[in-house]
Amino acid sequence: MLVHLINGISLGSIYAIIALGYTMVYGIAKMLNFAHGDVIMVGGYVSFFAMTKAGLPAPLALLLAIIVCTILGITIERLAYKPLRSATSLAVLITAIGMSYFLQNAALLLWGANPKAFPDMFKNAEAIEFFGAKISPVALVAIFANIVIMVILTLFTTRTKVGKAMRAVSEDKGAATLMGINVNFTISLTFAIGSGLAAIAGVLLCSAYPTLMPTTGSLPGIKAFTAAVFGGIGSIPGAMIGGILLGVIEILARAYISSELADAIVFGVLIVVLIFRPTGLLGKQIHEKV
C-alpha cells in the first residue's frame, strides 16, 4: 500500500509539473496548448543526446534541455499562436493540435522511430528503504523537484513585479495594458516558463520511465491537462493538488481494481469532482453578470 502511495505521488508530481505549464498558459492566454506534451518529448530528446552523444553530465544536460525548450516555446508562441490572439478559442485549439502533430512528426524524421532508453541519472543510488517499502531514487527526486518548483513559482507570481504583471494580465488584459504592462512580453514569458518546466518534466518522466519515442509526451500531456482541470485550471496550487491526486488515484486503481480500468476510474473521479465543483478543486467560481 505504502509503495503504491509513494509511486502514485511520484507519478503525480511529474503530472503536476506538466500541468503547471498548461495551467499558466491557460491562465494568461486562455488557450489549451495541446503542443505542451510534445515540448516535453523534445526536452527528453535534447537531454538524451546531450548525455549520450555529447557526454555532458546530467545537470548540464538538463540545463541545455531547459534552454532549448524555452526557445522552442517562445518560437511556437510567436509563429503559431500570436497571429491568432483575437481569433476564436477553437481556432487556436486546432492550431495547437497542428503544432503537436508537427513536433511529433519532426521528431520522427529527425530522431527515428526506435525508442531510446534514457540513461540512468541515479545509477549509483540504491533503492531506498522506507518503512519496509523500497522506493526508487527517481521517485523521490520527482517529489522533491515538484515541491521546489511550486515554492519558487508561488514566490515568483506573488512577490516579483513580472510575476504580478502576469497575474494582472490573466485577470484582465485590457486593464493590464492600461496599467502599462507589456501584454505580449508577459505572454511570451509565460510560454517560456511553461516550456522550461516541460523540459524538467521531460527529463523526470524519461528518468522514471526510461523510454523515449516521438509519442512519449502525448499521453502524459493529456493526463496532465486533466490534472490541471481537476485542480482548477489557472490555479498554481490547483495544478499541484490535481496532479498528485491524479497520480495516486491512477496507481491505486491499477493496483487494487484493474489495470485496464485505471484510466476510466481517473476520468470518472474527474467527472464527479466537476459535477460538484464545476470549476475544479481550487478554481475560481465565476458568476455570470446579467
Binding site: N7, T52, N105, P115, A127, S259
Partner: protein, 405 residues
Amino acid sequence: MKKKLLSLILAGAMVMAMAGCGNSTEPTTPAANGTGAAATGDGALTGTLKLGVIGPLTGGAAIYGNAVVNGAQIAVDEINALGGDFQIELQAQDDEHDAEKSVNAYHQLQDWGVQAIAGTVTTTPCIAVSAEANSDRVFMLTPSASATTVTEGKDNVFQLCFADPNQGSASAQYIFDNKLATKVAIIYNNADAYSTGIYQTFKAKAEELGLEIVSETTFTDDTTDFSVQVGDAQSNGADLVFLPIYYTPASLILKQADSIGYEPKFFGVDGMDGILTIEGFDTSLAEGVMLLTPFSADATDDLTKNFVEKFTAKFGEVPSQFAADGYDCAYAIKAALEFYAAKNGGLDVTDMSAEQLCEILISVFTDADFSADGVTGLGMVWDANGQVNKEPKAVVIKDGVYVGM
C-alpha cells in the same frame, strides 16, 4: 509478343482453375509441355516483381514497420545487385498501425500495380487488409503479424513468424524441463493479440505441467509505469517472470525491477529480441534474461553475419527480429517463384497480374517440397493454414550478448 501474352493468360487461367478446386495441398505441377507457364524454357525466373510492404512507418508503432521495410530493402538490394534477369521493385506504404489507413495503403499499392505483398507488419491492420486481399486474390506473406486470426480462413495469407500458440507452450515446456522456477509471474499486454495469445497457451501448458503461477498482471500499449505489475510479482515471491511481450515495455520492466532491487529470472519470447539494440539501454539490466527466438543478431552463421553487417552499414543500427522477418519475406517470395519457375520451365513475372501470381505462390507455399532458408530459420515450411514451421532457439544474455543455451 501476342502469342506470349496469350500463353500467359492461358497459364494463369489454368493455374486459377486448378487452385479453384479447393485448397488441395497437392503440388500443382502442370505438364511442362511448352504451353504451360510463361515459358522462357530454361527454368529461369525473369522479369521485375512489384513487391509491396505495408506497415506503421509513423506513429507509436513506427519502429516495427520501419524495421521490416529496412530489412526487406536490404534483401531487395541484394537481389537486384546480382544483376540477373529477375529484379524486385519495392514500395512501402505507411498504415500508422490503423486498420483504416492500412486498407488505404493497400489500395494505394494496388494502384501502383503491386503483384505480391510482404505485410502487413502489425496484427490488427493485417486482419483488415488480408480480408480485402483475400477477395481481390493478392498474395500476402506477413513478416510479423502472428495471431492465428490473420491466416484463419484465408488461403492467400501466410506467416513468416511463429503463430502465437506454439511459442507459449514451448516456453512453459522449456522452463519446466530445465527446472528454472518454482513460482512464475506473468506480465503481458492484453491489448495485443500476440502477447495475449502466447499468455493463454503458456498458462494452459504451465497448468498441465504443474508450474505454479503466482502473479498475472496486464498492461496496454500506452503503459509506461510498471511499478504495480513488478511490485505484484515481487510481493508474491515469484522467482521467474515470464514476459511474452515486445522489448520496449520489457526494458521498462527490467528497469523497474532493478530500481526496487527485485532480481528474479526473466524469460522472454521472440518479441524480446532487440532489447540489446535500444539506443542508450543499460545492457547490464538484461544480464541473465532468457528468451526463445528464431533470430539473433549475434549468430555466427554466414547468412546472419552478412545480413547484420549490411544492415548495420546502411541504417546504423543492429537489425531486430522484425528487420530479419522483412528480409526473409523478400527472399521467401523469391524462392517460391524460383521453385515454380524450375518446375514449369521458367517464369517471367513482368506483366503477370496479382491474381495469377497469388495462385502460383499459394501452390508453391503449400507444396510439401518447398522450403525456404533465411536468417530466422533454415528449412522453413508452411502448412495449408499459412503457418510456418521453424525451430526457436533458446538464448541467454551474458555480458551484453546472446549465448546459446
